[in-house]
């Protein structure tokens, strides 16, 4: 009987099985590009954007990623199938008085698929090209730049826990 008890104890020491076929939302998977906005005239201060409409370059106008107001950070998903993603960033997008300003940003990078788990499959991580990881162009109808300067903090886009790019804006 003692031997059976010992075996039962060994059996109990086996960890119970948790459900592992649903990808937990807290699991770090494919990261977005994290951009922080700073005040170009006071470079140590974060600056909030107003009505910043972000649209994928080839996406229709009525399908923006989102419109951001009162935040100093945006998170942009990068394409998992191409080594380049282009966005239109329209500041004061609701303005009719001419303060609307559109800049176009192109991100060029290399991709790597990394295994996460049975439930989540793989995630894509990125490495921005150096140099020329980010290319800034003006809108099709030139209106000047609201993004003054772009600083790449890290070229490795692997988690969303850090700022990848700092932008100094008007």
């Amino acid at each position: 009987m003692k031997k059976i008890l010992v075996l039962l104890l060994i059996a109990l020491s086996f960890s119970g099985c948790e459900k592992d076929d649903i990808c937990d939302a807290n699991t770090p998977t494919t990261p977005r590009l994290i951009i922080d906005f700073y005040d170009a005239s006071n470079p140590t201060e974060l600056k909030n954007v107003i009505n910043l409409k972000v649209i994928g370059f080839e996406m229709p106008d009525d399908e923006p990623l989102g419109t951001f107001t009162g935040v100093s950070q945006v998170q942009l998903p990068l394409k998992t199938t191409l080594d380049s993603t282009k966005y239109r960033l329209i500041l004061n997008s609701t303005s009719t008085s001419g303060s609307l300003n559109e800049d176009v940003l192109q991100f060029d990078y290399t991709r790597k698929d990394v295994f996460v788990s049975r439930a989540c499959g793989y995630k894509t991580i990125y490495k921005l090209n150096a140099p020329n990881g980010v290319t800034k162009t003006d809108a099709s109808t030139p209106d000047g730049f609201w993004i003054q300067q772009i600083n790449i903090e890290t070229t490795n886009i692997e988690t969303e826990n850090e700022t990848h790019i700092k932008m100094y804006i008007l």
Binding site: A11, D113, T124
Partner: protein, 246 residues
Amino acid sequence: MLLSFLSQAQEVKEVKKVNEAKVKDSIPPKKERYGIRFGVDLFKLSRSFYETDYKGLEVVGDYRLTRKHYLAAEIGNENKNVADDRVDFTTKGTYVKVGFDYNTYENWLDMENMIYVGLRYGVSSFSQKLNSYEIYNPNPYFGEAPAVFPGQKFSGLSAQWIEVVAGVKAKVFNNVYVGFSFRMNRLLSQKKPANFDNLYIPGFNRTYNGNFGVGFNYTVSYFLPLYKSTVKAKEKEKETKKKKKK
């Protein structure tokens, strides 16, 4: 029951002179058969027919060491395709498990059944082929990416684990036994493929939580008797005492 058997036995005329010093009554010594038993896992065999993505074979064997202890082993080969939501892969490989079984069942007369618990040490050598995978993107603004088909092969993988076994074996006729067993497995070590994982290991089965597994087999086996051994008086007394207590 056993007591009534003992009293009947006293009337038997022929008394063999064995262990005279210890056995003072006239009970004939109980003899038990020792030998080697080998068989096949019907569960794996039948799955190979009705599951299109599975092929497997397991040969089992045990050797009776003492009245209660059996040396036991399983050798098998598996080829399994797993088509999960996000990964699709094929695992192929061979495994060996060795250990012991402890029979907890008190056989009467010439019964030779087993209700047993046991331990195994398992080793598997296998390869994996990653057929396809999907990228998990919680922000699919540009649409869900299609599945990727790398067709990448990982060979030279291995795993070692321990298994706790519980099962039964029953003699159905002559020297033929059927039995089944449940197993709980825990990985000790493994060689993982680069940028992938061992989600299925031949012999160990699906890995849960990275290192936990369960198993089952249903066997038919043949017993090859090698010699007979007399049950020692001491052991028998112990048995009788146990029965009296109950």
